[in-house]
Each structure stands twice: as C-alpha cells, then as structure tokens.
C-alpha cells in the first residue's frame, strides 16, 4: 500500500512519529503546501503506538472557543476523509453521550451545550428518560450509587477505524512522494546557530532544516534532545475490549463522574476506556485497581455487561498538559516544531491537528486555529483549561 524506502541523505522536512497525527501532518504538508520531499520517521511501525491503542471516539463538544475551533475543524475533515483518501475509514456518526450524575455536573454540561451551540457544534441536553430512549441499555434507575440525571448528546460524534485512518493517510502520503520510514528511531537532533540541521537516527544521519515532533507520550524525550523542557507529563492510559456480542450499545457513552467510557465496535466488541495512572511512566501497562474501578462503574451503568468476559487489555503512554489542551507550537529552536500534549484525547483531532500543524511547519507561522495552543501560553497565563471536557481526569 505504501513504499518502504531507504532514508535519503536529506529532506525538506522530517516528521518524527508515524501515528495518525504525524501521517496527517505529512499528508497536508504534501497536499496543501507542496512539500513532497519529506519523510515520516517511525521507531516501530505506523499506527503501532497510540493510534492503535485509543478508543477512537470522535467528538468536538469542548467548552472554550479555541478548543471548539480545532476539534470542530477535525470533525469537518473526518466527515469527508474517507472519500478524500479513497479509503473506508468506517466513520460512524452514531452520537456521543456525556452523562451527568449530579446537579453540579448537570449544570456544567448544560453550560457546555450552550457554549457548543454558540460555536456551531451540534449539542443538546437530554433528560434521563430521553437518555434511555436514545440508548436503552443505560440503567437510569434512582437506586444506583450515581444515578444518571441526564446527558449531553453530540449527534455528529461517533467512532471510526484507527488502522484504516493510518493506512489511508500512509498510502496517500506515499503516492505523493512522501517517504515513510519504519523501524527507524531518532536518537538525536543536530543544530547549528540555533537552527535545526538534521536528525540522528538508528539508520544514519538525515539532513533537514525542519523537524516536526509528533510523538505523543515521548514528546518530552524528543524535546529533551534539544534541552527543551515542556509542561508535559507522560502517564499510562489503559483500555480493554470484551468478547464480541450482538449490538447492545448504539452510541458512545462517556461519564466523567464514574469515569468510564464505552462504545461497541463493528465486530461487536465493547471498547472500554479507563482513567490514567496518576504516576508518570513509559511502561505501556497500568494498574489493576484502575480497571477494577472502571469495570465496577460500567457494570452499574450497563447491567447486562456484568458477566461479559474481557478479551484484551493494554496501555498506551499519553502526554498530558496542565490545562488538558494540546501544544501545537514553534519552539525556541528554529525549525523545530512540536505537536503533542494531546493527553488522553488526541485521536478525535487527528486530521485537524495534522492540517493546522502542517501550515505551522510549512509557513513557520502558527495557523490561526493552532495559535492559542502555542507554548507561550504557559508564560502568559492564557491557558485553555479543558479539564471538564477532556473526559479522562488528569
């Protein structure tokens, strides 16, 4: 589907990281900015990191204008991406429910509905009875520990297929001349006079004036090669899937308060996400008590799943920021750009993130949508605090 070339001695730009965001960045660099003499360097195989580990939930119902702009930009691109790449990404706009379990949370979610509508994000409030009509499997009885009082619904939200997105982007990139180099790890970044001159890799030195770092959990590790310290902490985040069953969960269910999120894949497996482990770690495994906690919540929310067996469980390393918003930014080193800090919810932003980051890299100037997510917000105090909408607490 894509070429498997040897690295050339030099490129106009090198993207570190062959996940969804990295491949999307390369795709839009080639397609919209005419930069086809570029490479995507991946230490494992494409889509083998967090792209293959997330729960593929797509939504854009974030509170603040800056977030609504980027996540809705992504959602617009998702709707036509399959046709654009001529690859079925199995985009399913099945709707996303965000449940409220207490009065305070209900008020917070209603505020988000109004904020979403002002930003052109489709969003509505459902009371408990309407939640039951939309998703009959949810237990709305009052005798559970955290009763469901209502929910927000974004009908345009849903899920898609992570592998298909990565493969579709990779094929399109390769066809435009982008080199996708797998099994190649960046071990150092060379600079001269404060500007990037190339990257050291396990397959030799590659000369380039622009390096775009899109390495999720390892963003700090790459940045530290240039002595750049970031406000990012890397944590394990776990997910698991059940044995396949007949259609049971017609939409995406998310709950901040009891801390579980769940959807059903086309194969019939329930895809279930957990919370992060509070300690920093680069080992892709989390703690059992996190899973125990979220399964207890799930069993109460969706009683029929109580006797379901789980097939697989895994962890990925997420790069969390203090304000639960990403970093899409130039850096003090000329020619070094960072797209990271997506924390626990980067998948939904993949095309939008790649699109605005490609602009930022190509023009050496932040795309208007990316500008609020620059590193200097931690100095100015103009944080985009999205903890309420980020779903996974961190």
């Amino acid at each position: 589907m894509w070429r498997n070339p040897e690295p050339k001695p030099g490129y106009d730009a090198v993207v570190i990281g062959g996940g969804g965001h990295g491949l999307a960045t390369a795709y839009y660099l080639a397609k919209e900015h005419g930069m086809t003499n570029i490479a995507v360097i991946e230490k494992g195989w494409i889509g083998g990191g967090n792209s293959g580990r997330n729960t593929t939930i797509i939504r854009s119902n974030y509170l603040f204008d800056e977030s609504a702009a980027i996540y809705n930009h992504a959602l617009q691109l998702w709707t036509t991406l399959g046709r654009e790449l001529n690859y079925n990404i199995m985009m399913s706009h099945r709707g996303v429910l965000n449940l409220a379990h207490d009065e305070g949370e209900g008020r917070g979610l209603k505020r988000r509905v109004e904020a979403n509508r002002l930003n052109g994000v489709d969003s509505e409030w459902l009371d408990a009875k309407q939640v039951k009509e939309f998703c009959p499997v949810i237990n709305i009885s009052q005798d559970i520990r955290y009763p469901v009082l209502g929910a927000t619904l974004q009908r345009s939200g849903g899920t898609n297929r992570h592998d298909a997105v990565v493969w579709g982007y990779a094929r399109a990139c390769s066809a435009m001349g982008v080199d996708i180099i797998q099994q190649c790890e960046v071990t150092g970044i060379k600079t001269a006079k404060g500007a990037v001159t190339g990257v050291e890799t396990t397959r030799g030195f590659i000369k380039t004036p622009k390096v775009a770092c899109v390495t999720a959990g390892h963003t700090s590790v790459i940045a530290s090669m240039l002595d750049i310290k970031l406000p990012i902490q890397s944590h394990p985040l776990q997910a698991l899937v059940s044995e396949p069953i007949k259609p049971l969960v017609p939409c995406v269910i998310m709950s901040n308060a009891v801390h579980v999120y769940c959807s059903q894949s086309d194969k019939g497996e329930l895809v279930i996400g957990a919370g992060i482990d509070a300690h920093t770690s680069y080992t892709q495994r989390g703690s059992m008590d996190i899973i125990e906690h979220q399964m207890a919540s799930l069993c109460e929310l969706l009683p029929p799943v109580a006797r379901l067996r789980m097939m697989r469980q895994w962890g990925g390393i997420v790069d969390t920021c203090p304000d639960a918003s990403p970093i899409i930014s130039k850096t003090p080193v000329k020619g070094f750009y960072i797209n990271g800090g997506w924390g626990t919810g980067g998948w939904k932003a993949t095309p939008g993130s790649g699109h605005v980051f490609a602009w930022t890299v190509a023009k050496d100037d932040p795309h208007p949508i990316a500008a609020p997510f620059a590193l200097d917000r931690f100095h100015s105090g103009a944080l985009v605090a999205e903890h309420g909408a980020a779903a996974v607490a961190h």
Binding site: K43, G44, W45, G48, G49, Q183, E185, V186, T187, G188, T202, T215, H218, S220, V221, I222, S224, M225, K229, L230, P231, I232, Q233, S234, P236, A278, H279, T280, S281, Y282, T283, Q284, R285, G286, S287, M288, D289, G315, P322, F378, H379, S380, G381
Partner: protein, 121 residues
C-alpha cells in the same frame, strides 16, 4: 501496578498510595522578583524523563505521610525510598540504550521494541 515500601508502614499495594509528582521542586524564595517566565517554570515545567525519576508519594490509605521515591519510569523498577528532606541516594538502573527505546527487561513496550542488527532475535 507495583508494591511500594512505605518507610513508616512497610510494603503495601500501590493502590494505598497517591502520587504527588516530582520531588525536590522547591518553591522560589524570592517570589516577588520572578518574571512570568520564571514563575511558569516553577508552576508548570516538570522533568518527564524516560529513566531515573525522583518523585513524592503519600500513603493515603495508611499513615498519610509523604516520602520520596526513586523509580525508573522506563521499567517501573523502584530503586529507593527515602524521607522528605533527605537527599536522593546513589542508585544504578538499566536505562534504555537509546532515548526513546526500551530497556532490555521490565518495559511494557515489547510490541514496538525496535530490533537492531546486533541484538539477538
């Protein structure tokens, strides 16, 4: 998941403890003289190494006391536990051979481990 040896209570399950972030981050004494950038460094910037890391834990479901710990974040190997205010002891640990690589054992990342020509298959 790992077992943590509280210096006051002994070895307990990790779920009894809460992580309290990086250790040895002192609040600036001359706060009124700091620039916004320097304050941002103190408030937001933390080390996030893949390898040796000094951090604080609190035994939430036990003695409720804070202590420091040295852990290898590439393997979750716990190397030392020591009291608040003490200096970190000298330890040795197996770190990844390359910055974003994986340690030979103890890493959960075997699925994406890069096999190099010199390594045994």
């Amino acid at each position: 998941m790992f077992l943590i040896t509280c210096p006051y209570c002994g070895t307990r399950d990790q779920s009894e403890f809460s992580n309290a972030g990086e250790a040895h981050v002192a609040r600036p004494a001359n706060g009124e003289e700091l620039t916004d950038e320097q304050w941002a460094d103190f408030v937001f910037l933390r080390n996030n190494p893949k390898g040796l890391f000094a951090e604080r834990w609190v035994h939430t479901a036990g003695c409720r006391r804070f202590f420091n710990m040295l852990r290898n974040t590439a393997t979750d190997e716990i190397l030392a536990v020591y009291e608040i205010g003490a200096k970190p002891p000298k330890v040795t640990t197996v770190e990844p051979a390359t910055p974003s690589g994986e340690a030979p054992i103890g890493s959960g990342n075997d699925a994406v481990k890069v096999m190099r020509p010199e390594e045994p298959k």
